[in-house]
Amino acid sequence: MTIGLTHYLVVAAVLFCGGLFTMMTKRNAVGILIGVELVLTSSILNFVAFDRYLGKGRVDGQITGLFIIVLAAAEAAIAVAICINVYKNLSTVDVDRATRLQG
């Protein structure tokens, strides 16, 4: 059996669902960040897979993948900084208890 586009997409879908599931179930902010990274990773995998199988010599998908990695790094840096500040202020990173801004 040869590894085709479908396999990549299934792996990406599993990653996506895993990430989504992590986001939905985790109360730890860091856990949620990990979920977000998983979702982003699955999308990168999709871009690269589509580029490989449908791109026909173009590198748009790969560049978009790199762009997303940079975005994810920036996002992670900001998100972790928020998490550290939340922890400093509330002594917790449980998002359900960080309700101070709730109306």
């Binding site: 989504l20 986001m23 939905m24 179930t25 949620i32 998002v95 359900d96 309700t99 801004l101 709730q102």
Partner: protein, 793 residues
């Protein structure tokens, strides 16, 4: 010649008590108990008395011409203009003013003096604040007002001071304002006086409108001129109750006197006024203020008409008789004296009404002395007997208070007219009251002789004057020409400051150069208008001359003689030495005033009254002796009245009250007695007519108010309320508010719905996002499938 020193002295005498008043008001509480009193005595009355003595001594040294000159030269200061009529301030300087000023200051001084002793023994604190200084402040204010009244040259100022003495009377009657009877008596006095003053104001307005002046002398001059020419007030045809306008003017002015001098229908306040402290009763309600009414009538005598005088004599006659009867049954020592005061004031008013100008004023002055003394004596008795005023509980006090008893007896003799007929030995009333009666007799029964006598007298008959023992009159005054001339000067031909023309020039320029014709004309006009006095008036006055000694001796006997009827009262009775000095001085004053000084002064002033255009002032001493052959029986008839009265009084009261009680229970006496005890039920009638009448009118007004006015307004109010309710509840609450609230609540509801999903939990958002994405994908797939299937065929 500098003639203003007397006026200035009198003015200083008037203003000194005013200063004393203000000083006592502001500094009195700091002065403390005896000092405030002595301050009031010295500054409030001592200075005026000194001024009065200075003026009196100077005045006695002047002859008639010099006095007339001073009168004419008197300063008049312009104060204000009423329309075109100037109101002037000035001192009316003539013999009457001098006599009155001296009398008032002299009596007042000794009463102030007495008050220091009297008030010392009284609890005078209200709310822990002493009223002692206030008493002397009021007395000083009274001194100022009374003296101002005496010296006023203008009717307006006379009226102002008139009201001020009324105010002082009110304040002093209600001095014990923590006791209800005192405040009631004060209000009664004030309100009753308002009734009289209303008439006074009407009189003043008539003077102002028709005589175009408020100055006493100028008013008299204008009145005479209008009478001579038949213009002005005499041209007016207005009449009320059959009285012409000039008469109404006189009656209006007299109404003021009726209130202040407590004449018959308005007499009710004076007996109640005895609620004030006794010195007040002596000063204000016996000697001075109540005499102000008499003084006023004497001052405006020149404005009187024969009808007005008839009215005055009627009122005076009723007063003197009715009040003397009440005095018989009084048991309260002060009330008894109050009724005797009323009766004597009636004599004075009656005398003025008869034309006995000199006699009435003479009686005013003699009465002031002995009545002040009697009241102070009663104050001494009341004070000594621990505030017991009921004579039935006294008796036998002569041993305990000899000075009071004797001075009181002198007063009784004076008021009763004690004297030896045919000689000039007698006291007070013997001269003054009997002279009033003599003139009344002449007016009632010898009117034709009076006419004859006065006509010849005016034309130059000089033969009757030698009987007059008045040194001032023996000089220039007896010359008829100078008398008329003086009368003319007196009636105020010119005022120096008002017009720059010298007075003698004005007198020379007078149109009345033919004096005898003028006076003959005047006499003819007087006789044409005057009717003889009704004889019943004379008989009532004579009867009262018998009643007066009876009730006075009764009072004295019940108080001082016989056996003590109340051991407790008798045991405590004592005399205060500070207080009997004034008694002795006033007893001396009674003797002096009967013989010297005052009669000549008043006779001197009577030239003013003799110049009256419409009425005749009669000099009783000259006149009756000249014309009355029957004078002797009158002299003896009245002269022994005191003896008869005394004998009856002593016969009844010598053995206690038993005989009196038996007499009053006799079948024909008791209704009279009841009538007298209840003072003819006048208070009850007034209560029924005026007080209840007022309440009735008030109730009718209230009914109208409640049922008519209130109904209309209530209806209007209710309508407005309904309208407001409609616009408020229906339009505003449901319409305007409904829209506004509806918008608000709708957005609230919507926002509630919208807020539901916004839980703030990331999981939920993720779930929603994922769910939504899933649904979109499913939708797109479904649409793609359908479009695919739609395109396919």
């Amino acid at each position: 010649m500098n003639g203003h020193s007397y006026e200035l002295a009198l003015a200083a005498g008037v203003l000194s008590p005013l200063f004393s008043f203000w000083a006592l008001v502001f500094l009195g509480p700091r002065m403390g108990k005896p000092i405030a009193g002595w301050f009031g005595v010295i500054l409030g009355m001592g200075v005026p008395l000194a001024m009065a003595a200075y003026v009196l001594l100077g005045w006695l040294g002047l002859d008639a011409a010099a006095r007339a000159q001073l009168t004419v030269n008197a300063i008049r200061l312009h104060w204000a203009y009423l329309g075109s009529v100037p109101v002037t301030i000035g001192v009316k300087l003539d013999s009457l003013t001098v006599a009155m000023f001296f009398m008032v200051t002299f009596i007042a001084f000794w009463i102030f003096f007495f008050s220091v002793g009297y008030m010392a023994g009284h609890s005078d604190e209200v709310d822990h604040q002493s009223k002692y200084h206030r008493f002397f402040a009021y007395l000083s204010l009274f001194g100022f007002s009374m003296l101002g009244l005496v010296v006023s040259s203008s009717l307006l100022f006379l009226f102002i001071f008139w009201e001020l003495v009324g105010l002082c009377s009110y304040l002093l009657i209600g001095f014990y304002f923590d006791r209800q009877y005192a405040t009631r008596a004060a209000m009664k006095a004030f309100i009753t006086n308002r009734v009289g003053d209303f008439g006074f104001i009407i009189g003043l307005m008539l003077v102002y409108f028709h005589l175009h002046t408020l100055d006493l002398d100028e008013a008299a001059r204008n009145f005479a001129a209008q009478h001579a020419s038949g213009t002005g007030i005499f041209a007016n045809t207005f009449a009320l109750f059959g009285f012409a306008l000039p008469t109404l003017m006189g009656i209006g002015l007299f109404c003021g006197a009726m209130g202040k001098s407590a004449q018959f229908p308005l007499h009710v306040w004076l007996p109640d006024a005895m609620a004030g402290p006794t010195p007040v009763s002596a000063l204000i309600h016996a000697a001075t203020m109540v005499a102000a009414g008499v003084y006023l009538v004497a001052r405006v005598f020149r404005l009187m008409t024969p009808d007005a005088l008839m009215f005055i004599s009627t009122i005076g006659c009723l007063t003197l008789f009715l009040m003397a009867l009440i005095a018989i049954v009084q048991t309260d020592i002060k009330k008894c004296l109050a009724y005797s005061t009323l009766s004597q004031l009636g004599y004075m008013i009656f005398g003025l009404g008869c034309g006995a100008w000199i006699a009435a004023l003479f009686h005013l002055i003699t009465h002031a002395f002995f009545k002040a003394m009697l009241f102070l004596g009663s104050g001494q008795v009341i004070e000594g007997c621990h505030h017991e005023q009921d004579m039935r509980k006294m008796g036998g006090l002569i041993k305990k208070m000899p000075v009071t008893g004797i001075t009181f007896l002198i007063g009784v003799l004076a008021i009763a007219g004690f004297g030896i007929p045919g000689t000039s030995i007698g006291l007070g009333g013997f001269f003054s009251k009997d002279e009033i009666l003599a003139v009344a007799y002449a007016r009632a029964f010898q009117w034709d002789d009076v006419k004859k006598f006065e006509s010849s007298h005016e034309r130059g008959g000089e033969e009757h004057h030698s009987t007059e023992n008045t040194p001032q009159q023996n000089g220039e005054l007896n010359d008829p020409k100078s008398k008329v001339r003086m009368a003319k000067i007196e009636s105020g031909e010119q005022f120096r400051l008002v017009s720059d023309e010298p007075p003698h020039k004005a007198a020379a320029a007078s149109p009345e150069t033919t004096e005898p014709e003028h006076s003959a004309h005047r006499m003819a006009s007087i006789f044409a208008g005057t009717k003889p006095l009704p004889s019943w008036m004379f008989w009532l006055a004579i009867a009262t001359a018998y009643i007066t000694p009876f009730y006075m001796m009764r009072a004295w006997w019940m108080t001082f003689m016989g056996k003590p009827r109340d051991e407790h009262v008798h045991h405590h009775a004592h005399e205060s030495s500070l207080m009997f000095i004034p008694l002795i001085v006033l007893a001396g004053g009674t003797l002096v005033s009967s013989y010297f000084l005052f009669r000549p002064l008043i006779a001197d002033a009577s030239a003013v009254a003799s110049a009256a255009p419409m009425v005749l002032a009669t000099d009783g001493a000259v006149h009756t002796q000249a014309i009355s052959a029957a004078h002797h029986w009158l002299e003896y008839g009245v002269g022994f009245a005191f003896a008869i009265g005394f004998i009856f009084a002593i016969a009844i009261y010598a053995r206690g009250l038993e005989i009196a009680r038996r007499i009053q229970n006799l079948f024909f006496v008791w209704p009279v007695h009841a009538l007298l005890v209840h003072k003819y039920y006048i208070d009850e009638i007034y209560d029924l007519v005026w007080v209840k009448g007022c309440l009735l009118v008030a109730n009718i007004c209230r009914f109208f108010d409640t049922w008519i006015v209130d109904l209309v307004f209530d209806t209007l109010a209710a309508g407005t309320e309904r309208l407001a309710a409609f616009s408020g509840l229906v339009l505003d609450n449901h319409g305007v508010d409904g829209v506004v609230n509806g918008v608000a609540s709708t957005s609230m509801d919507v926002s509630d719905v919208l807020r539901g999903p916004q839980t703030g939990r990331i999981r939920n958002y993720v779930l929603f996002a994922a769910g939504a994405a899933t649904m979109i994908i499913v939708l797109l797939l479904w649409v793609g499938v359908r479009s695919a299937t739609a395109v396919t065929p």
